[in-house]
Amino acid sequence: MDLTYTPQQEAFRDEARSWLADHAPAPGSLASLDTAEGFEQHRVWEGRLAADRWSVVSWPTEYGGRGVGIFEWLIFEEEYHRAQAPRRVGQNGIFLLGPTLLEHGTPEQKARFLPPMATGEEIWCQGWSEPDAGSDLAALRSRAVRTMEDDGWLLSGQKTWCSRGAFADWCFGLFRTDPDAERHRGLTYFLFPMDAPGVTVRPIPQLDGEAGFAELFLDDVFVPDAHVLGGPGDGWKVAMSTAGSERGLSLRSPARYTEAATRLVDLYAARGRPTGPVADEIARALIDAEAYQLGTYWTASRLADGHAIGPEASCNKLFWSETDLRIHRAALELLGPEAELLVGSEEGLAPAHPGEWLDGYLFALAGPIYAGTNEIQRTVVAERLLGLPRG
């Protein structure tokens, strides 16, 4: 057991820290990435990261990464959150589709899609859920029909809850290619541009009033064979690899929570260190944030030793989503009557505007819903890890 970093890793951390200190925009200085203006500001930031090869450090160098290991990625994430650098507008691409492309993509697909994903020139959204296929994803009905004369497919149907969908450039989605096949079979994973003829986007305002996600209507949208990821009919298998990334390590690195926990302690100190139940809740939040970090190191070591992560990823998703809520609920409890203040209100005291905690709480509230609801994850844990009979 070795819980220390190598001198090379420490040097990598120093390099990341000093680059971020020089380049990261001041916290809160960009507009929300769920607005047209903020989306473009965040895209510029992605380009700045990519120019010095910080946007996707763990990817191979040929696609814009540094080819470093998972621990270096975790170190970078720690420094990124410590610097309170902007949210990653490209996250659906770089953290979800990217690893899936690296695993299942053809050499041509990797060369075509990964570099502009790394620079933010092409920002991706996810087209999985449908009005009648949410938790029951395999019930999806949007279809793709073969067009023999053009070597491709025509997509039709409706997708919904597409994060970043209001402004994204490309979409990765699941479609039914064999109408006679049962549920998980007969699905195919497609990549298509959002400005393709036949795509209509309807932004959906979220709890905060901004268009963080969107509904897509597809009407005979043409996709060439070259933009099928994995083979026709392999969609579920490829999608589960994306879902593994989503629930597992890559979507939510522990740095987000350890950094928020550190700020929570500062808030607690600034608010007079009240004793009683709130103190216990704050301790639980700190401990869970650190437990998630340690669990990530544990899993990363297993990956480095050549083990695969299976349904354990569902434990991760349950734990980080609940930790995020716990941290932010504790903060709002400390803020008391100020908890309702929005960023921009004149009131609000150091060390951070109360509205930032409220924003964080709204963001955290989505966690138990997206990436497979926590109820679905509990069922996965019960049936696949504990071996309980299927319901």
């Binding site: 057991m1 070795d2 819980l3 220390t4 970093y5 190598t6 890793q9 621990f71 550190t262 302690v265 500062d266 607690y268 100190a269 260190r273 103190a279 216990d280 704050i282 301790a283 639980r284 700190l286 401990i287 869970d288 650190e290 437990a291 998630y292 340690l294 669990g295 190191y297 544990w298 990363a300 070591s301 297993r302 480095a304 030793d305 354990e312 434990c315 349950l318 734990f319 109820e375 994850q377 509990r378 069922t379 844990v381 019960a382 049936e383 890890l385 504990l386 071996g387 309980l388 009979p389 299927r390 319901g391």
Partner: protein
């Protein structure tokens, strides 16, 4: 960075697990519980097995942390933690860790630290090989962890200078007691042979604990070390005790989940196994998740204690808070999944559930350790 056990560590753990599956059955624990229920006390060998102790001793378990020159394996807390998980899973009713991981390291530490090194060294040299071989059973008492740090539980018993030390685990079986005492101005650690004590059993809900009140008389003849050195050893001892207790709780939580899952697969209602209902599945999944994230925290704490790093006490507190909570939740959910049968004496569940309750509260419960973590975080924020 490699946060994983070595092959040897995994093999040691597997060997202990195999031995305990054969040598430490629910029937053994039941015999112990039945004895207490019928008014007997957990003296002697009822429910405890000389054969089991011999096999554990052969594996080197009691002397795992004892240096090689004193007859032990000379291993570290990182090697110990997996063994403790397996002992927790089985509910080992001998004071394996009280002896080898709580009392023995105090003797080793006293010999190394103390200005009275010669005397402490002689005591250590005398006792440690026998502890390591399993021939002598020792235990630690007189201190417990609080939010504000360790406090003594020993208090004067009468005008003759004798002292009462309550809630000492493994008291009926111990041949040698390492007992902490605070004079009001300084910590003292004493070593007392069983023949110089009077042990009164203190029945616990968990008969595995074998709690007793120890009456003894401190004097120059029993003193091992005092003052700053004793305080350091007390701090280290409560950390190590909380760590090894946390590790046992992880194994116990896993056992409780297994008992509940096995039952939920068998028991049928409404024409289906109850384990197919989400109302049963989801609470069990929640326990599994809490256990999944409690484990690495305990392993990290073991590494921090083994390396003696500055934050080790905070790391132990995180581990114990997480493990106590995971085991408490596992006990609660396992009972609910069992329903009425789980509430009976006849069902094995209570043997493990009660052990989870007692260890969850021992050496600082979750609330105590959470308060310690918050205090440490505030100290860091103030720097």
């Amino acid at each position: 960075m490699r946060f994983a056990f070595t092959e040897q560590q995994l093999e040691l753990r597997a060997a202990v697990r195999t031995v305990l599956e054969q040598q430490c059955t629910a029937g053994d624990l039941r015999a112990l519980a039945d004895l207490q229920r019928t008014g007997g006390h957990a003296h002697g060998d009822v429910g405890r097995s000389a054969a089991r102790w011999a096999v554990l001793s052969e594996l080197g378990a009691p002397g795992l942390l004892v240096p090689v020159e004193h007859g032990g394996l000379g291993l570290t807390e990182v090697d110990l933690v997996g063994v403790a998980e397996e002992a927790g899973r089985a509910g080992v009713p001998e004071p394996l860790f009280e002896s080898g991981a709580m009392a023995a390291p105090v003797l080793v530490g006293a010999a190394a630290l103390s200005a009275e090194g010669a005397r402490a060294g002689a005591i250590a040299a005398d006792a440690l090989p026998a502890i390591a071989s399993g021939e002598l059973v020792s235990t630690l008492g007189g201190v417990e962890q609080t939010a504000d740090g360790p406090v003594t539980t020993s208090h004067p018993a009468g005008p003759d200078g004798s002292v009462l030390t309550p809630r000492v685990a493994g008291a009926a079986r111990a041949g040698l007691f390492v007992l902490a005492h605070h004079t009001g101005s300084a910590w003292q650690l004493h070593v007392v042979g069983a023949d110089s004590t009077r042990v009164t059993p203190a029945p616990s809900i968990d008969p595995i604990r074998d709690l007793g009140t120890v009456e003894w008389t401190p004097g120059p003849g029993t003193l091992l070390v005092e003052g700053a050195h004793a305080a350091t050893l007390v701090d280290d001892a409560v950390d190590r005790a909380a760590l090894v207790t946390a590790a046992q709780l992880l194994g116990l939580a896993d056992r409780l989940i297994t008992l509940a899952v096995d039952y939920a697969k068998e028991r049928r209602q409404f024409g289906r196994p109850i384990g197919s209902f989400q109302a049963v599945q989801h609470p069990l999944a929640d326990v599994r998740v809490r256990l999944e994230f409690a484990r690495p925290a305990a392993y990290r704490a073991a590494d921090s204690v083994a390396r003696g790093i500055g934050d080790r006490s905070e790391h132990v507190s995180m581990a114990k808070a997480l493990a106590s909570d995971a085991a408490d939740l596992a006990a609660r959910v396992a009972l609910q999944v069992h329903g009425a049968i789980g509430y009976t004496w006849e069902c094995d569940l209570h043997l493990f559930m009660k052990h989870a309750w007692s260890l969850s509260a021992a050496w600082g419960n979750g609330a105590v350790h959470r308060a310690r973590v918050l205090a440490a975080a505030l100290r860091r924020a103030d720097d």
